[in-house]
């Protein structure tokens, strides 16, 4: 059956591919892609990414899982991406189901289908891919022979809006949990049990959340009364999986090298996981604790293998805040020394705001100056203290001065509007800072008579309150207020050398609804998708009116999720998913935010009592390094 389908695919694809944009997205056969003999392998896992190839290929998490699963003789892992709208139209027209890249097997032929949930606006793509893959959307309707659909990634920390569509979620790190699930699958498969048997056993695993085994009861006012396990041996609370020792953790020695241009098309070295700066809006900072740094020797080894096996022309050091990595200078210099002469460049995605970082950036980008980005996030010190972004105006100016002096002509600044306690003055502060950085740059660069070339690009996101953060109780500004704020900021930007980009507030609004949503949103999601919503994070595809119709017709008020201030005592839809940081700590942080009190980083100034180390039996793992000394001073 499989072989016949493969032949059918070839013929149809030959007809269809010349008619779609970037057809090489769908043809696979890339260097380092792993093709195994389907019939010789016990467990087939599909790693599905709910966006197009060009986006999904950049995801490091899947590169790691691809490597781990394919290293097992009993397992194969293949990649599946969302077809772009033109390809999907052709596929539906010709009844061509969604298939994997490696061996072109239909999605529903796989035993386990994983979806990584990186952002809320990808949820309709998940439904769309299940539909294109001929897998029943509702977990309750899946039968023997249907795959188990597994969710992971950051959004799995509040997976409730998707609860009806997934058989299980893996909360936290997948490196160990996924192989354990594969082992479990093999045992179960041999035992001849039914789907529920598999799920009941899976629910016993640390970090595995089976939504069907919990019931949710609601109060009259719509808030949650209780989330309760259905069976006695199902845990009340699911704690995340965490990898304690990153040096020992498996990491690929090769990446699949695409033909077409995709995002992050380079060697990626994950220097560390976690961040304890405690910026209060940041979910990643809370859910990926503790900080675990990799030793420079490990990174050197990984770099050597990856460069050799991929032939990539660029290496990047990746993490939540690479500028904070203890040995960043040591590692960067070493990589430059080794690979610079062969024409391999080095890039740092995000920088800390001080001159030390800029000098480092200058060193590593002597050859190629890629963009420099700083993220002050808020326009006033008062508001920065509220969000705990430990950066002063002076930090920004010192760094900017150093950057311009080192030869950069343009700088990108990231800010957010809609933060709690925000005032008009705070917003005006954004424009003021951008203007001052521009003036500074002109002054510095005018010495080389390049003042006229200086540009500042201002990128302003919209605050979305997220689960597992000190701001998880906050109301998001209304759409009207957000748009007014954006317009206000825009009006303050006079200089042509400052470019201003912002997100459509309506997408931020939808994100806010889904990010703190509960199971009742499943109906909305399904209806929105049915009526044509997909690729919601792509501005030209976003269909706000259809979303609003979906809310109206299902009787769900989106403002209940986005614009409601929660009480301290309210049971939140994700309270039964634990990231290790205590709810009490988050509330305390909220209070400190409102009082404008700063919380230091536990890496440098002692434990702040978030609870993760005690709860999960872990610790920050730090390497030494010159950067450590500089940070502590």
């Amino acid at each position: 059956m499989g072989k016949w389908l493969a032949v059918k695919h070839e013929h149809l694809l030959d007809e269809i591919l010349p008619l779609v944009s970037k057809p090489a997205r769908y043809t696979g056969n890339e260097w380092n892609a792993v093709r195994k003999d389907w019939d010789q392998v016990a467990v087939k896992v599909a790693l599905a990414f709910p966006d197009i190839y060009d986006v999904g290929m950049g995801h490091l998490g899947y590169k790691i899982l691809y490597h781990i699963l394919n290293s097992r003789e009993d397992t194969l892992a293949e990649r599946v991406y969302a077809p772009w709208v033109d390809m999907e139209a052709k596929m539906r027209e010709h009844n061509l189901p969604l298939f994997s890249l490696e061996t072109r097997h239909e999605l529903n032929r796989f035993d386990l289908v994983g979806f990584t949930l990186q952002y809320e606006l990808s949820y309709t793509n998940v439904l769309n891919m299940l539909d294109l893959g001929n897998i029943p959307l509702l977990a309750a309707e899946r039968k023997k022979g249907d795959p188990f659909v597994i969710g992971g990634g950051p959004c799995a920390f509040n997976p409730e809006p998707l609860a009806d569509f997934f058989d299980l979620f893996v909360i936290g790190a997948g490196e160990e949990a996924l192989p354990e699930l594969v082992d479990l699958y093999r045992q179960w498969s041999a035992s001849g049990g039914d789907r529920k048997d598999f799920l009941r056993q899976a629910a016993q695993m640390e970090g595995v959340y089976v939504p069907a085994f919990y019931t949710v009861k609601y109060n009259g006012n719509g808030t949650i009364q209780a989330v309760e396990p259905v069976y006695p041996n199902v845990p009340r609370v699911v704690r995340k999986r965490v990898i304690k020792d990153l040096d020992a953790a498996p990491f690929p020695d090769r990446f699949v090298v695409p033909y077409v241009d995709v995002i992050h098309d380079r060697v990626m070295l994950e220097v560390m996981r976690g961040c304890t700066r405690s910026c209060r809006f940041c979910q990643a900072g809370m859910i990926y604790r503790p900080v675990r740094e990799r030793r420079p020797e490990t990174l050197r080894r990984q770099a050597e293998a990856l460069v050799r096996n991929t032939g990539y022309e660029e290496i990047s050091l990746t993490s939540l805040s690479t500028g904070d990595y203890g040995a960043v200078e040591d590692v960067a210099r070493d990589l430059l020394r080794r690979y610079g002469p062969c024409g391999v460049a080095l890039s740092l995605p995000s920088l800390r705001l001080d001159s030390f970082s800029v000098n480092l950036a200058n060193e590593i980008q002597k050859q190629r100056k890629t963009g420099l980005t700083f993220a002050p996030e808020a326009g006033s010190q008062r508001l920065r203290n509220v969000i705990n972004k430990n950066v002063t105006d002076e930090n920004l100016f010192t760094a900017a001065r150093a950057a311009f002096a080192a030869g950069w002509d343009s700088i990108k600044l990231y800010f957010m509007i809609g933060l709690p306690t925000e005032t008009k003055e705070d917003i005006a502060g954004i424009a003021r800072l951008a203007q001052e950085v521009l003036q500074l740059g002109r002054k510095v660069r005018s010495k080389k008579s390049k003042g006229h070339r200086v540009k500042v690009s201002l990128s302003v996101a919209t605050f979305v309150p997220k689960s597992h953060t000190p701001f998880q109780w906050e109301a998001q500004d209304s759409l009207q207020v957000l748009e007014e704020k954006q317009a206000y900021l825009h009006s303050l930007i006079q200089d042509r050398a400052i470019s201003f980009s912002w997100h459509d507030a309506r997408t931020s609004f939808l994100e806010a609804v889904l990010a703190r949503g509960d199971r009742r949103l499943a109906a909305v999601l399904q209806r929105a998708w049915q009526n044509g919503c997909k690729f919601d994070s792509w501005s030209e595809q976003f269909k706000f009116d259809i979303w609003m119709e979906a809310f109206a017709s299902t009787g769900i008020d989106p403002l209940f999720y986005s614009q409601r201030q929660r009480d301290k005592e309210e049971i939140l839809p994700w309270d039964h998913i634990h990231c290790g940081v205590s709810k009490a700590f988050l509330w305390k942080e909220r209070e400190r935010a409102l009082a404008g009190q700063v919380t230091p980083d536990c890496r440098f100034e002692g434990c702040q009592g978030c609870g993760v180390c005690v709860e999960l039996g872990v610790d920050n793992v730090l390497v030494g390094g010159e950067n450590r000394a500089a940070t502590e001073s």
Partner: protein, 225 residues
């Protein structure tokens, strides 16, 4: 600095990659093979690899050419195998020769392309008749979009040979020799307007690229100085 010229094929498994994709893929293969490739200067050093004509998405070829400049001597005869070991299925290096440092670039000398067009035929006029009509015509006009607007071009003087290879049961194939390059270029897709193939049911294959010199067709591997 040795300059090598190589011939390669782009086959079915990579039919849908673009020319840019191809350039990226070969450059990475050169790195994986750890060949001493030379780099350009400036802010974004690029490997010194220069191609002949760009091959469009969807087209296969048995006759593509590329020049590579190296910083150290290397055994010419081994270059194809060395690269093939680092290339995915579908890109095949066939042969390499050394060219003089001052030899003209591929883009500057290549001026002929031979194609095979295979596909399903529309009902009605057969392929043989259509080809005869095409060759008998003095004007074969196509409209090209230019920056300043549309431009009408006569393809006929740039079509040097058209021959039916076979025709059978609603499918047929023909061979086409046309001009290519900056002095005048015929895209095989443009010639299809005058032929009875069903739309979207053709495959175009580039057989080879040539230099027309003194009435003869030379291979780029022969024109080394």
């Amino acid at each position: 600095m040795p300059r090598l010229r190589a011939k390669f094929a782009k086959k079915e498994p990579v039919r849908f990659i673009s020319h840019l994709d191809l350039m990226r893929t070969v450059a990475r293969a050169v790195r994986r093979a750890q060949l001493p490739i030379a780099f350009s200067g400036g802010y974004h050093p690029q490997p010194r690899i220069a191609y002949g004509s760009a091959l469009p998405v969807g087209m296969t070829s048995d006759g593509e050419y590329v020049d590579m400049e190296f910083t150290e001597p290397l055994p010419v005869a081994e270059l194809p195998a060395c690269l093939n070991r680092q290339l995915p299925e579908g890109i095949d290096f066939l042969r390499a020769v050394e060219i003089e440092p001052r030899a003209r670039s591929l883009m500057g000398i290549i001026n002929r392309a031979q194609y095979t067009v295979t596909g399903q035929l529309k009902d009605g006029t057969g392929l043989k008749q259509a080809v005869a009509d095409l060759l008998a015509a003095t004007e074969l006009l196509v409209v090209r979009e230019r920056r300043r607007g549309k431009q009408q071009i006569n393809l006929r003087p740039m079509i040097f040979a058209v021959e039916v290879l076979w025709e059978n049961d609603g499918i047929g194939a023909l061979s086409l020799l046309v001009q290519t390059g900056s002095a005048g270029n015929v895209r095989p897709g443009e010639v299809l307007q005058f032929l009875p193939f069903r739309e979207n049911q053709v495959k175009i294959h580039r057989v080879d690229l040539f230099i027309s010199q003194g009435g003869r067709l030379l291979s780029p591997l022969e024109v080394v100085s």
